[in-house]
Each structure stands twice: as C-alpha cells, then as structure tokens.
C-alpha cells in the first residue's frame, strides 16, 4: 500500500494530545478577554457543532450499513438450495463445507464482519467530535483554555469541519447505492430476457425503490453535513478572534444551525451538492483554510501556530 502524504482524518488520539497540550498551556495563561458568559456561549456553540456533526456522521453510517445488506431468501429457500447443491454435485468440499453453510445462513440476518468494522469506524469518528466538545466543557468554570490559546481549538475545529466536507465529497463522487440494488437489477435482466414480464416487473420495482430510497437518505446526509460545516466555519472564524467577538456572535453559531435546517428543508440532492461545493470553493480560496488543509495533524499539536 502506498504511503499517503497526508491523513485525511483526525484520530481521537491525535486530537486528545492536541487538546491536552492546549489545556496545559491554558492553565498557566492569563484569562484576559475570557468572561464566563462568553466562555459559556463558546461551549454552547462548540457543543452545537459537535452535535450536528455527529448527526451528519450518523446518517453516513446508516448509508454504509445499507450498502452491504443483502437478503438471500428464507430458511426454506436455504434448505432447498443446500439440498439441490448436494443432489447436483454430490458431497464435495464446496457443497458440504460447514463454514460456507453457516455463512450462508447468517447472511439472512444483518450481522457480518464488514458491518462490525463499519460500526467501530464510525464510533471512532464520532469520538473525535465529542472530544472537542468535552475539551471546552470546563472553560466556563475555570477558563482552563486561556483566551490566548483558544486558537488551538480553532485548528481542531477546522480539521473536523474539513473532514465533514471530505466525507460528503467521497460519497458524492461514488454514491453508496446498496449492493442489493444490483442484485435486483440483474434478476430483472435475467427475467426480462426469459420474457417473464410479471416477475421482471417485481424485480424492477425492487431496483427502483432501492435507488430511490437511497437517494432520499443521501440527500438527508448532505443537508446535515451542510449544517455542521456551516457551524464549523463560523466557529472557526470566531475562535480566531475570540477576544473581540461578542456573545451574540457566538450564539449565532447555534442559530445558524436552526436557520439552515429550515432553509434546507425540501432541498434536493443537486442543490445540496452545489451548496457544499460552494463552501468548498470558499475554503479553497482562503489562504488560512488552505494553510490548515496542508498542515499535517502532527504539526497542529505543536500549538500555538501562527495562522495569520
């Protein structure tokens, strides 16, 4: 496997290290410009960002789970198949393989090693977002993160925001149409070629609804991503000028989530994609975002970095 020049994701561990570092410096720092109301508002905004990111990630997880689910018929069909296989080929390594038989039965349920891997991957991704929210939790009480070092959190926010944009792009470029849609489609082709119109229609309807249902869920994931990305973007800007931002600036991050959720209701997949693409163009056009994009996570942990 080729070495990748830059990691596209932020692991929980890296983030933990980064935040610990920020906290350590923060404790010894002055508390200039960091009133407890502002700290409270900052915490609320960070939590809002973490919550909407988590909601977006949940919907991607669900797309991945659906991607793999293949139904292979009832227990009776399984028996008929197993029986017919032995009748046809005799008792061979393939027809009487115990593990194959178990696998064949267990495919009836939505278990599967692949899905377990999906679950733990997404748990890890979500953990980095909640870690960000947790790391600000003590700010209102003791202002552990001195205002001077809030920009360290800014880097984490930017990485986590860009990660969401990456997720959306990845799925856009190659949608996760469920594998089962192919199964229905191929069954339709086979039946149509045999002139079995009624049966072919059933399979085509299955195929149609699988694609259609997928696109509804994909669009929903995009909407949630746009909300989280917008909040992350605002948070990023505010963290960069924490000393001068106002309470209402900070609470505006939370508001933007509600407002976007409303305005995006009924937006289709194409419009959602366009909106995200324009966010990305904006990020690509900004020198600060570009510089962050090029920073490997390791160098971020040597906070503070001069972003200006």
């Amino acid at each position: 496997m080729p070495a990748r020049p830059y990691e596209a994701t932020i692991s929980g561990l890296d983030l933990k290290r980064l935040i610990k570092y920020a906290l350590a410096i923060g404790m010894t720092a002055t508390l200039a410009g960091c009133t407890s109301e502002k700290a409270e508002a900052l915490l609320t905004s960070v939590k809002a960002f973490a919550a909407s990111s988590s909601a977006a990630i949940d919907s991607y997880e669900s797309l991945f789970q659906d991607y793999r689910n293949i139904g292979f018929g009832s227990p009776d069909q399984k028996f008929n198949g197993a029986y017919a296989a032995i009748a046809k080929y005799g008792v061979t390594d393939l027809t009487s393989d115990y593990n194959n038989a178990v696998r064949s039965i267990s495919a009836l349920k939505s278990f599967e090693s692949g899905n377990a891997e999906a679950r733990s991957s997404f748990d890890e991704i979500r953990a980095s977002y909640s870690l960000l929210a947790d790391s600000y939790a003590s700010l209102p009480q003791g202002s552990l993160l001195g205002a001077k070092y809030v920009p360290c959190g800014q880097l984490a926010v930017s990485k986590l925001t860009q990660q969401l944009v990456n997720f959306a792009n990845d799925i856009d470029k190659k949608p996760l149409y469920p594998v089962e849609a192919r199964k229905s489609y191929e069954a339709f082709v086979a039946l149509a070629s045999q002139g079995k119109k009624e049966l072919a229609k059933q399979k085509f309807d299955d195929f149609y609804s699988k694609i259609h249902d997928y696109e509804i869920k994909h669009t929903e994931a995009k909407r949630k991503t746009i909300i989280a990305v917008e909040q992350g973007r605002r948070l990023y800007t505010l963290l960069g000028s924490y000393n001068s931002v106002t309470l209402s600036n900070l609470l505006g991050v939370v508001d933007s989530g509600f407002m976007l959720a409303n305005s995006l209701r009924g937006v289709n997949l194409l419009a959602a994609s366009n909106q995200l693409a324009s966010v990305q163009r904006e990020m690509d056009g900004s020198d600060a975002w570009k510089r962050i994009k090029e920073l490997p996570l390791g160098s971020i942990s040597s906070c503070p970095i001069n972003l200006k």
């Binding site: 198949g81 197993a82 692949g114 191929e186 690509d284």
Partner: protein, 108 residues
Amino acid sequence: VTLIMTQSSDNESQDLLYVEEAESILGLLFRRYANSDEADQFLLEPIISKAADELLAARLRLFRRGALTTPDELAKLKSLKGSIDNAADFQSIVIAALKLAAYLGAFA
C-alpha cells in the same frame, strides 16, 4: 479538491476506478447468480456476501483515509473481471468470486 492534497489526486481517481471496477464485478457475479439454478445460487450466496463485506470495508477505508490503490492492483481487478466474463463453468466463477474478496480484503 479535498483535504487530500493535489499530489494524491491521481491516486484518488484511481481509487474511484478501483471501487467502480469492484462494484461492477459484483454486478457480474449477481448476473451469474440470477441465471443459476437454486443449487448454484446456494453455493454462490456466501461467496458473494464475503465479497460484499470486503467491498464495504474497502469503501470504508477510502471514506476515512483517502488514496488506497496502486495501478497494479487496478490491473489485477480488471483481469479478474475478464475471467468472470469468460468463465465457462461454475467452478471458475466460484474461484473468481473468492479472488475478488481476497483482492479487496488485501487492504485491511
């Protein structure tokens, strides 16, 4: 144009080709499946499931980390597609399906 830098964009589009190729091979397997009797279908099911598991895992790794594949791996997959297209007997389809799962699983 993502967090993955421009230098790796070649790898990125190659990964997309790789996933497309793997998905279309799975489509070929489903085509064989749809045209099989219930005995062969029963034997193909666990193998197709296995290949789908590995495809899910590969897509997941792409989703999380970006570029994965080399030109050599893409070529291997393309030749595998040919062998399923031309498979004359059931045994060669089974072998090709197992190979697909193995190729995809190699990124674990």
